[in-house]
């Protein structure tokens, strides 16, 4: 097991009248180099689960594993862990702590003891990777940015530490289509070339579902479905009941089928949909 949990249970404000169990015996196991999506309605426990994976929250019961070892509570060990498992928070501006964007992104490389000349290169590189121009905004305060730019800076500040695992909590909220595509292309690239393990919680499946090896579905703190996209998105009614949706292309294929054209519905990319329509309606040679 590269990263995973065993019967992970977590209760907020445990022991008070406000106690709320956010995770209930969640178990999973992921291999190195996998890309995993976590979906689920708001309040289902996605953020709570994610914050256990780099040791920010401590299980009420159960365990979290990284590279076969249970994550303990030793401070030094946890700090080292957080350098290897990078987390981009759901509301990034709540976690900015530096006076400039440069310092925010430089934090991790400086911690690694790199020379400032090297740090500068890392900062510029991280900003460019997410689609921002260093010279335009690196000396601004992190709050002096548009909504989407704040999120991109948060991603850059985690990229700059070269993590082995990258966890992103609803990373596309507020991103425009081109920056969204760019982010997913970047993750795909880091995954293919460097074996980066990626875990993404998201409500927005288009563009990313094609990269995913597996999908976890959470509801009320429990893992109610898990499997490859091709399995998860064939069970449409179940997802609808949870208030979730399918990838847009899959949604279209289901509607077409309902109207009487016998298309396959386990299709979630545009290319797949084109092929399927062609299979049914195309003429040879076209």
């Amino acid at each position: 097991m590269f990263i995973g949990t065993e019967k992970l249970t977590y209760t907020y404000m445990s022991g008070t009248p406000f106690a709320a169990t956010a995770l209930n015996e969640v178990s999973f196991s992921l291999g190195k180099g996998e890309i995993t999506l976590i979906i689920g309605p708001s309040g289902s426990g996605k953020s709570t689960l994610i914050q256990h994976l780099n040791g920010l929250l401590k299980p009420s019961s159960g365990r979290v594993y990284f590279k076969g070892q249970a994550i303990g509570s030793d401070k030094g060990e946890l700090l080292r862990l957080r350098r290897r498992i990078g987390l981009v928070f759901q509301i990034p501006e709540e976690h900015f702590f530096s006076e400039t964007i440069y310092d925010e992104i430089a934090f991790a490389p400086r911690n690694l003891g790199l020379a400032e000349s090297e740090v500068r290169i890392r900062v510029k590189d991280a900003l460019e990777k997410v689609g921002l121009r260093a010279e335009q905004l690196q000396y601004r305060h992190p709050f002096q940015l548009s909504a989407g730019q704040k999120r991109l800076v948060a991603v850059a500040s985690v990229l700059s530490m070269n993590p082995e695992v990258l966890i992103l909590d609803e990373p596309t909220a507020g991103l425009d289509p081109s920056h969204r595509r760019n982010l997913f292309a970047l993750l795909d690239n880091l995954n293919r070339s460097g074996g980066l393990t990626v875990i993404i919680s998201t409500h927005h499946l288009d563009d990313v579902v094609a990269l995913a090896h597996s999908v976890f579905v959470l509801q009320g703190g429990r893992m109610v479905l898990a499997g490859p996209p091709s399995e998860i998105f064939t069970t449409r009614e179940k997802l609808y009941d949870l208030g979730l949706s399918l990838p847009s292309v899959t949604e279209i294929m289901h509607s077409v089928k309902e109207k009487g054209l016998p298309v396959k519905t386990n299709i979630y990319t545009l290319a797949g949909a084109r092929q399927e329509i062609n299979r049914l309606k195309g003429r040879p040679g076209r």
Partner: protein, 279 residues
């Protein structure tokens, strides 16, 4: 007919006058007509929020002007009147709710207008009815889903009886059900209550439900028209960092494969119908 909001040659710089001055709006012209549902879209940092913050006086023009029903936003005497005409809803539902009970939260705006209690109660009722929130009136917003919280925030603005509501990415943080509920309610406020809607969004499947759309780039308005007219300009849309709606993307791909698919497909239903009719 006069425009509800008129923007004339508006410019705005952050840190104006300093070394790191940044020109966020570079001469924007725009007319928003009463009763329309207008989408404003464009890449991150293109100036959407900066522009929208001028519509109800959160920002004042550095040059050029913004008129709301003919009232200049630059004139402080007009601020109160303009705040009544134009309400604003933001991205994050959690930061917008002020009270621990839904109906009190919705009453907050009308109370600030100094209305008599009977009128406040009437407006709160109306806002709750209009958005189908009556069953939640006594509960605490903290226990609601994100989508419900956003509807409460919209109800709070609605209770001010504005002519126009600006929503800055109101669905960005919501799950699919929350997104759908908020979008449907916004559309209903527009169609049934005649409220002018300005919707800032990155979702093309929301844009297609608007009457008109504007695309911004680097502080300027690059395109304006109906979604049909704008999405016809495929290359420009991509250059401006946007996407075609998913139905238009699939339609385009099939057309390139030689299928006879008509132009002007932007809604899923339009595509589904024409796929089922393919010979």
């Amino acid at each position: 007919m006069n425009p509800l909001i008129e923007v004339i040659d508006l410019t705005y710089s952050y840190q104006a006058g300093s070394d790191d001055e940044f020109r966020a709006l570079k001469g924007v012209f725009l007319q928003v007509w009463p009763g329309e549902m207008l989408a404003i879209t464009g890449q991150n940092g293109s100036g959407k929020s900066t522009l929208a913050r001028h519509f109800n006086g959160l920002l004042t023009p550095q040059s050029g002007s913004v008129l709301v029903e003919g009232l200049s936003i630059a004139d402080k005497k007009n601020t109160a009147a303009i705040r009544k005409l134009v309400g604003m809803v933001f991205q994050n539902p959690d930061n917008q709710l002020v009270s621990s009970i839904v109906e009190e939260d919705i009453a907050f705006g009308p109370e600030n207008l100094g209305l008599p209690p009977a009128e406040i109660r009437k407006r709160v009722d109306w806002a709750l009815d209009t958005l189908n929130l009556q069953h939640l009136r006594k509960v605490s917003p903290s226990g609601l889903s994100e989508g419900q919280k956003q509807l409460v925030a919209i109800a709070g603005v609605l209770a001010m009886k504005p002519k126009c509501i600006i929503l800055d990415e109101p669905t960005a943080h919501l799950d699919p059900r929350g997104k759908r509920e908020v979008l449907e309610n916004i559309m209903r406020l527009n169609r049934e209550e005649g409220i002018t809607i300005i919707l800032l969004t990155h979702f093309m499947n929301e844009v297609v439900h608007c009457d008109q759309m504007v695309v911004m780039e680097q502080g300027e308005i690059k395109l304006r028209g109906t979604p049909y007219a704008v999405f016809r300009q495929k290359e420009i849309i991509l250059e401006l960092g946007l996407d075609l709606p998913i139905a238009a993307q699939l339609a385009t791909g099939l057309r390139q494969k030689g299928f006879k698919i008509p132009e002007d497909i932007i809604h899923t239903e339009e595509l589904v119908d024409c796929l089922c009719q393919l010979k």
